[in-house]
């Protein structure tokens, strides 16, 4: 019980992590497949936008 309480206390003291902030432009494609590349970049942008909505502005 006391261990659990200590862990909970440590977690509570922890600073919030910075927002999730991938860089879509950093993604390339090994075979130069533009269609696939757009899918990967779109997903990265979606995740970035989602994190910004949930956690405020980027730390960048």
């Amino acid at each position: 019980m006391s261990d659990n309480a200590t862990v909970s206390s440590d977690q509570a003291d922890r600073p919030a992590p910075p927002p999730f902030d991938p860089d879509p432009e950093l993604i390339a494609h090994l075979e130069g497949n533009e269609f696939a590349l757009k899918g990967y970049r779109r997903k990265a942008q979606e995740l970035r936008d989602e994190a910004r909505r949930d956690g405020g502005p980027s730390h960048a």
């Binding site: 999730f20 991938p22 993604i27 390339a28 075979e31 696939a36």
Partner: protein, 149 residues
């Protein structure tokens, strides 16, 4: 390598992300192999049932084997390999703080991982459907050949 001040687990998470990406790669290879085997078997079954068996059950077997072949073929479509744009990395991050660049790389790799997971899930479903359809086609072919005797 020393932990980055302020984000002490950053190195650990980067290592875990690299390990997960490698595991993802192996899973993709395994699915490709299964899809290739299923494509071969279902293609042979289509040819055999269409040329050697007659009747509605044989037609159904050929049709279901054809569906299996299509699904396996869809799953077998070469996987895409996302990678890092090194020139962009150099130009945009060479003068950035080490911690900032490491975190951005980690986040970018996670985004790549999540998109690949989505594609692998589709591939996994196609392999599962192809596998089930091939099994049904085999049963139908056996029934058709028995009825034809």
């Amino acid at each position: 390598m020393p932990a980055v001040p302020g984000l002490p687990s950053l190195e650990l998470l980067a290592e875990e992300a690299a390990a997960e990406l490698a595991a993802q790669e192996r899973r993709g290879d395994a699915l490709d192999s299964k899809a290739g085997v299923l494509l071969g078997f279902s293609g042979v079954l289509v040819a055999l049932t269409a040329s050697n068996l007659e009747g509605g059950t044989a037609d159904a077997a050929a049709l279901v084997a054809g569906i299996a072949a299509l699904c396996a073929g869809g799953a077998f479509v070469p996987r895409s390999f996302p990678t890092l744009a090194l020139r962009r990395l150099r130009d945009s991050y060479l003068t950035s703080a080490d911690e900032f660049t490491r975190l951005r790389l980690l986040d970018t790799r996670i985004a790549m991982y999540e998109e690949t997971q989505r594609l692998l899930a589709i591939k996994g479903w196609l392999v599962a459907i192809a596998s089930a359809a091939l099994g049904i086609a085999v049963v139908l072919a056996v029934i058709a050949s028995t009825m034809g005797d």
